[in-house]
């Protein structure tokens, strides 16, 4: 039995054989009541932030302060059903999405919500990105068009190139922390910024830079979105995506970028750590719900700022061509991640 499930069974006095049900309900709770509202809120904040940056009016049409805008967009997309949808497409757009959402159980959102922790937890973002990349390549190839074919091939290229620097960055933090489980990666950090991995070891600035940019490349995010170009002429897989399929695709991409930022927070920015005395007090008084919201709030606030920072950065950059992306990885990100790896270990060895 994982610790989070144990806490909740203990809290609600449930029978000990209800582990599966509690885990299932927790996954549903995390996705429906934490991640989706965060996504909605994030969408509004992000669009408002970008609109202020670009000197224009942001969304304020649906709901109070535009908070219903993302929901309205999703409903609009879901209503549009493709004229002809084959079985394989249905598999691609629903099953891939559902499997990816399964990684919610292993997200480092807090002591009360981490349902799965193993010695390979730190590699979950890479696995999820490979999953998305494989699905996106299949989507591109299934379109039977030149732009879809090119988009699929570009995704494959970007995934292969972007994977290596991200892997080295994770290895760096893992080597410093003595393991790749969330417990090992987060427990040696604290609530205060001075106790975060990024501040404790200055060489990790190289690693966090490589990790975030590699994430953008792996997920074909802003700047590196040539595989997803909307127009046929650019060659990309989203040219033929519309309606429900586009809705699924966007939700998946948002979730994966959220996952990547949460993992960055866990690896470098203190994760879900709150002040020790507060956590001890809440655990002793069995105030699990307050503890859960405090930890999740900490992660979400850090994630929000990180996502906004990256969004602002990407909005003033021009799109990179596919060959520019690969050049950037081999000439900048790989050396950066190696410098981060070697420098961080030497720095720690020197201090020791």
């Amino acid at each position: 039995m994982n610790p989070a499930t144990y806490y909740w069974i203990d809290y609600f006095n449930l029978p000990s054989n209800s582990e599966w049900w509690v885990s299932f309900l927790l996954v549903v709770f995390i996705y429906l009541f934490l991640i989706l509202p965060f996504g909605n809120f994030m969408g509004v904040i992000e669009r408002k932030f970008i609109s202020r940056l670009e000197a224009r009016v942001g969304p304020e049409f649906s709901g109070w302060m535009g908070l219903g805008q993302a929901f309205a967009d999703l409903v609009k997309l879901i209503q549009k059903v493709p004229r002809k949808e084959s079985f394989s497409e249905m598999i691609l757009f629903t099953l891939f999405f559902m499997i990816l959402i399964g990684s919610v159980a292993a997200l480092p959102l807090g002591t009360m919500l981490n349902l799965f922790d193993s010695e390979l937890s730190g590699f979950i973002p890479l696995v999820s990105c490979l999953h998305l990349a494989f699905g996106s390549v299949m989507i591109g190839f299934s379109q039977k068009s030149i732009s879809g074919l090119m988009g699929g091939l570009r995704i494959a290229v970007q995934t292969i190139t972007g994977l290596v620097p991200a892997l080295i960055a994770i290895l760096t933090v893992g080597a410093l922390s003595g393991g790749f489980s969330w417990n090992a990666l987060i427990s040696n950090q604290g609530f205060g910024p001075w106790s975060w991995n990024l501040v404790k070891n200055p060489f990790l600035f190289f690693s966090v830079f490589s990790f975030l940019i590699s994430g953008l490349i792996l997920q074909s995010g802003p700047i590196f979105q040539s595989p997803l170009a909307m127009g046929d002429l650019y060659g990309g897989i989203t040219a033929k995506l519309y309606g429900r399929r586009l809705g699924y695709f966007r939700m998946t991409r948002f979730y994966l970028w959220f996952l990547w930022c949460v993992v960055t927070v866990a690896l470098f920015l203190g994760g879900y750590q709150i002040p020790v005395y507060l956590k001890t007090h809440l655990m002793e008084s069995h105030s699990y719900i307050i503890l859960m919201f405090l930890e999740v709030g900490t992660v979400f606030v850090k994630t929000l700022f990180l996502m906004l920072l990256l969004k602002g950065f990407t909005r003033i950059q021009s799109n990179a061509r596919i060959n520019q992306t690969t050049t950037l990885v081999w000439k900048v990100l790989l050396p950066f991640s190696f410098v981060g790896f070697i420098g961080a270990l030497l720095f720690k060895g020197g201090l020791a």
Binding site: E54, R56, G231, L233, N319, R321, I322, Q324
Partner: protein, 379 residues
């Protein structure tokens, strides 16, 4: 090409794409036949004429006094230039001279219109490159100019403000101060655009190694305007044969020239357009200084019934290059023939050559770097 011996079928290594004429990512109606070798373009052919409106033919149908409105349809984004060329031709036909005040007003409007056109071209280019922030900034500054036009003429693009033999009306109160402030603001913003684009390594690295407009291509297609001037061809009609308002600048023309451009690639074309906007602002400032000296405003000649018999060929420097208008009159109430020669046609003709050996992703980038407006090509 590979030949299958068993079936006798020809296979090709190339992809053949047919794009357009109405494609979501091509705002212009243009049909492209692209043959690419993977990501690299092998050859391109294009078909145009999908936005043909027969405007030049309409000149022969309407009375000559009404044709100024047709003139503004030739360059919808900068209608004052096509109006000015038509006005010049008619005024030469009538053999009339305009007062300096009219010329000053025309000069201010023309150069503001040039800036507006360049801002629109560059914003489209930045949008295609993915820097949406610069796109929004440029559109914001363009609004200032359009608001100024609205204040002067009641129309956001200043359409039909130029009349044969003069302008529609005197400038509204406060326009001079406001235009001066707009110029100040634009000058400070240009630095911001450059900071966000030219100083960006990804941006410059992508643009400087593609879409090269060679000297041979410029000569072959008679390309003019910023596309040629960015490659070192400094033939600007405002300087080599000043006419209309530009005669007032004769003493300051040498200081206004732009130099230091030798290779026309998308990056230099981008830089040149920003530099030309700065040049336009310097011209506007001269016109604004000279304007208060003059008080007499000409009466327009639209009360004349019949056109004099004759033929005129007028060349002006439009934002896209040398724009010519050929006008024939047989002495009636209508023009016998009006023909516009547009510089965008030459730039479009060179477009397939620029695409060879470039990446598929760069098709639209190269297109917008040339600043071609299909409404000018298909008239």
């Amino acid at each position: 090409m590979i030949k299958d011996k068993k079936e006798g079928v020809l296979y090709s290594d190339y992809y053949d794409w047919n794009m357009g004429p109405y494609q979501s990512n091509m705002p212009v109606p243009l049909q492209l036949h692209i043959r690419s070798d993977g990501e690299i373009i092998h050859s391109v052919r294009y078909n145009r004429g999908y936005a043909y409106r027969g405007t030049e033919y309409l000149f022969e149908i309407f009375r000559w006094q009404q044709s100024i409105v047709l003139g503004s349809q030739i360059i919808p984004e900068a209608p004052l230039f096509s109006e000015w060329a038509l006005c010049l031709a008619v005024e030469r036909l009538f053999k009339i001279e305009l007062s300096p005040k009219v010329e000053c007003i025309r000069g201010i409007l023309l150069e503001l219109s040039r800036i507006s056109y360049h801002l629109k071209t560059l914003s489209q280019f930045c949008f295609t490159m993915g820097i949406e922030t610069v796109f929004h900034f440029m559109m914001r500054e363009r609004e200032l100019i359009l608001n100024l036009f609205e204040l002067m003429s009641g129309h956001r693009f200043g359409k039909a403000f130029f009349q044969f033999g003069g302008v529609l009306d005197d400038l509204s109160a406060g326009v001079i101060d406001r235009a001066d402030k707009v110029c100040d603001r634009l000058l400070s913003r240009f630095k911001e655009y450059e900071g966000l684009s030219i100083e960006n390594r990804t941006f410059t690295h992508r643009l400087e190694k593609m879409g090269l407009l060679t000297d041979a291509l410029i000569h072959r297609y008679q390309i003019t305007g910023p596309n040629a001037k960015a490659g070192g061809f400094s033939e600007d009609l405002r300087f080599i044969q000043p006419q209309g308002p530009y005669q007032l600048l004769a003493s300051e023309l040498c200081e206004l020239k732009i130099s230091g451009y030798y290779q026309s690639n998308p990056l230099t074309r981008f830089k040149y357009r920003i530099e030309e906007m700065r040049q336009s602002i310097r011209m506007i400032r001269v016109f604004l200084e000279e304007l208060p000296q003059y008080s007499y405003l000409d009466q327009t000649i639209v009360s004349e019934n019949l056109l004099p018999e004759g033929e005129q060929w007028v060349s002006v420097e439009s934002p896209q290059g040398h724009m010519d208008v050929h006008l024939v009159s047989e002495g009636g109430k209508k023009f016998s023939r009006v023909f516009y020669h547009m510089p965008a046609v030459a730039s479009l003709a060179a477009y397939p050559h620029l695409l060879k050996q470039s990446y598929v992703e760069d098709c639209n980038v190269i297109f917008y770097s040339l600043g071609v407006e299909m409404s000018e090509v298909d008239r």
